[in-house]
Amino acid sequence: MNAQLSVLLPELLLAGMGMLILLVGVVGRPSERVAFFLTNLGLLSAMGGVVVVGERGSETFFAGMLQLDRFALFFRLLFLLSALLVVWLSRPFLLRAQQAPWEYYALILFATLGMSFLASGVHLAGLYVSLELMALSSYILAGYFRGEVKSHEAATKYFVLGALSSGILIYGLSLIYGVTGSLSLAEVSGKLAAGPRSVVATAGVFLLLSGLLFKVAAVPFHVWTPDVYEGAPTPMTAFFSVGPKAAAFAMLVRVLWVGLAPAAPDWRLLLSWVAAATMVWGNVAALTQENVKRMLAYSSIAHAGYALLGVVSGGALGTQAVLFYMLVYAVTNLGAFGLVVLLASKEYAGEKVNDFRGLARRQPLAAAAMLLFLLSLGGIPPTAGFMGKLYLFAAAVHAGYAWLAVVGVIMSAVSLYYYFRIVKEMYLASAEEGEAVAVLSEAWGVRALAVCALATLLFGVYPTSALAFLAPAAMIVPW
């Protein structure tokens, strides 16, 4: 039992630290520095825990609920890293907005805890519980600024639609359970492969898929995204676009390719159309957005579409592409949102595209960083985004989905049009047209941005070590 518990070291650290922060917040209310310090400590020690626990040679634990493998290792590190960067970005934001940090940081830790379990879950019930832990924390975080109407609205929408999607998902689970008599992915896979194709199982697969597609914000389950992203506190928007999304992709890959692989003929075609529709819809809708947060929300829908391309392609290459893209997308998108966080505008949710006007003249470094992130989102080398897309498109061509790759490629070109609207404001707007809202140089925010910018360049120029790390992680997919 002890050996089993030690496997959970990172999760225990996260949970413990989260509760400690809540407790300290209630009991003592010391300075917000303490909360920030404890959160950092929690996340960093959890990272250390992940490294110590390592991969443990792909064992399953807790009666087949959890599996520790390179896949889980990678995602756990990714979630912790994203959470850490988001916490760094949140501090200046919370200070400016004069919001209490205690519950906020604790909830981030709990959401990360949920994701962490998701990464290693191989049992559908366990996966569902982890998903809800992550989602419930997110709902509260979306509405954390109680005074703001938009924040309210975001939380309500997120919660109602999220609960609905959970219902759909769990209905799917129950159908699958009914057919296979098991919720363990390995057993489900075995039963599906052995038995004849049944309508009930197919229905279950589709319902499960719908629930998961809601979580990754794929078309046609994307409608909540722009409103939630716009209304939530900006650091939380950054978090939602990266953490929970990557977690949902982790679950999607594992459930589809480990548990439901025998039913692939059922869902693969459908998923390929969803991927195409997501890429097209996300990019086209982003074209006309004036609010940067909404634009980035639609862009994140589009990016989910690109990543789905890797899920559809499957195989070791497709899986590796998805994982690498999640990493690349996390650093890039956190960077882009980070700049929006640090944009010193008056209202917290009113970031307009022309707030960036002339930024290159006033703060060339901030503008250069934003340029880097936007180029990476658009997939222009030598940035990480290009390498990520190269992998995804390669996987699609390899798996015989060249048409999907063509759609993705054309949509990347379209996406540059709206990314470059920000570039245009930053670099091309003339001095007479007014000045940018300043980007605040708050120490932790700047540190987070620096990490993102360096990672974006590094993974673009020299992706080798990241890819080498990911290759074994992709091996969870059998072929």
Binding site: P382, V397, G400, A402, V409, I410
Partner: protein, 531 residues
Amino acid sequence: MEFFSNLLNIICYLPLVGALFIIFFIKKENTKAIKLWATLFAGADFLISLALWFRYDPNGEPFQLVYKKPWIPAIGAQYFFGVDGISVLLILLTTLLGFIAVYSSFTAITHREKEYYVWLLVLQTGMLGVFMALDFVLFYVFWEVMLVPMYFLIGIWGGPRKLYAAIKFFLYTLVGSVLMLIGILALYFYNSSGFALVGLPGLGNAPTFDVTELMKVAPSMPLSLQKWIFLAFFVGFAIKVPMFPFHTWLPDAHVEAPTAGSVILAGVLLKMGTYGFLRFSLPLLPEASRWAVPWMVALAIIGIIYGALVAMAQQDMKKLVAYSSVSHLGFVMLGMFALNPQGLSGSLLQMINHGLSTGGLFLLVGIIYERRHTRGLSEFGGLAKVMPVYATLFMIITMASIGLPTLNGFVGELTILLGAFNRNTWWAVAAATGIVLGAAYMLWMYQRVFFGEVVHEENKNLPDANLREQWTLIPLVVLCFWIGLYPKPFFKIMEPSIRRVVQVVDPQYLQAPAASLPAPPAEKPGHGVAE
């Protein structure tokens, strides 16, 4: 020896180093120092690149000065630089024009100088990388890297419609290049071990983006697949060339870009498309290239005549030169798809020629635009009296562009016509029409600007080209005469590489009895000039 194994790296990254140096060590108010250092870096790069001319051995290995290191082993992408006779010439053209572009911008650019020279230098690195990369991923990285600096050069320092032109240029070329990426991936997967793309068996070797490796195996792909990859490449390259009907971004981009931007656009960026055809499409997809000949030639000839006719109708000097590029690049494409040594070497030489003469024309138009802030043909007249030196330089470059004997354009066009004639008389006839039209609009422009009386009061006291302006043009003039009078060294450098391409794309041509062929231009190209 160490120096030479890194020669290509040095040439490629020196401008980037210069850009970083300017970013970090020079204040933006200190415009003099910025100009000085930018010129020094670009100039040094040109001088170092001259080593290629002497180091490259035309009869040696196909690709020389190779620098090869593993880059992304997971997918077999390498950091692989190397040059052959085709790229050597284009690299030299790039470093020369890059230097001239920097040097010519001193008075034309009066705001945000630091950014300007930084982007110009970054662009230089991107372009040089394209001509050196022999790995598809590396090539694609450099190919895309160029877009961003050019976008800024047009968008910040351009004319009145700069925003529109910049984004149009960006998106147009981007769409082309990303489709090319799909072609690259198809090529990659098809030629990797045991893998079957669209149900076809692989050729049983390790997956690679290595162009030299692919040249060995890709030509034996089935035609059906070659056609698809050819089309994917075609979109990418044809937009860059630009071939009719993909040319519509070019007049906008050229007219709005600052002078140096236009020089680089016309001089180097347009060559990327033709280089792409020559380096990748022909040798990798020979069957598809032969299949495409009628289409390509038709588009080339339409481009020649259409470009010339539209140029004739222009009132704006820069637009006229821009459309003349469409026409000239049509020639280049025609020569290339003649698929014989004459056509191909003429095509390559004409790429260089076009870089020199059109680059020169844009510089000249820039000079007069700086003085008068207009480029309308009707705004001028009689300038020959006011600005004699300028008029002389303009005359020489115009003649080079028209293709007057003793100047470079003549040698290029003649060689292309020989190649085209060799395939089909009618191609040569149609192309010759373009030459006549070209002479017409260029001379007409020259007449309207320089001859007659000075009708506009503002033009009476225009200062002649100053020393710096003259020096930006003199290297071009010298090269125009050199290639026009003694093109042999140029043909000598390209000849073996060109023959290798022909060997793949149309082997029968080289095996045909020598008597039935006209003398290859590489032997005595000077004769045509003298007669």
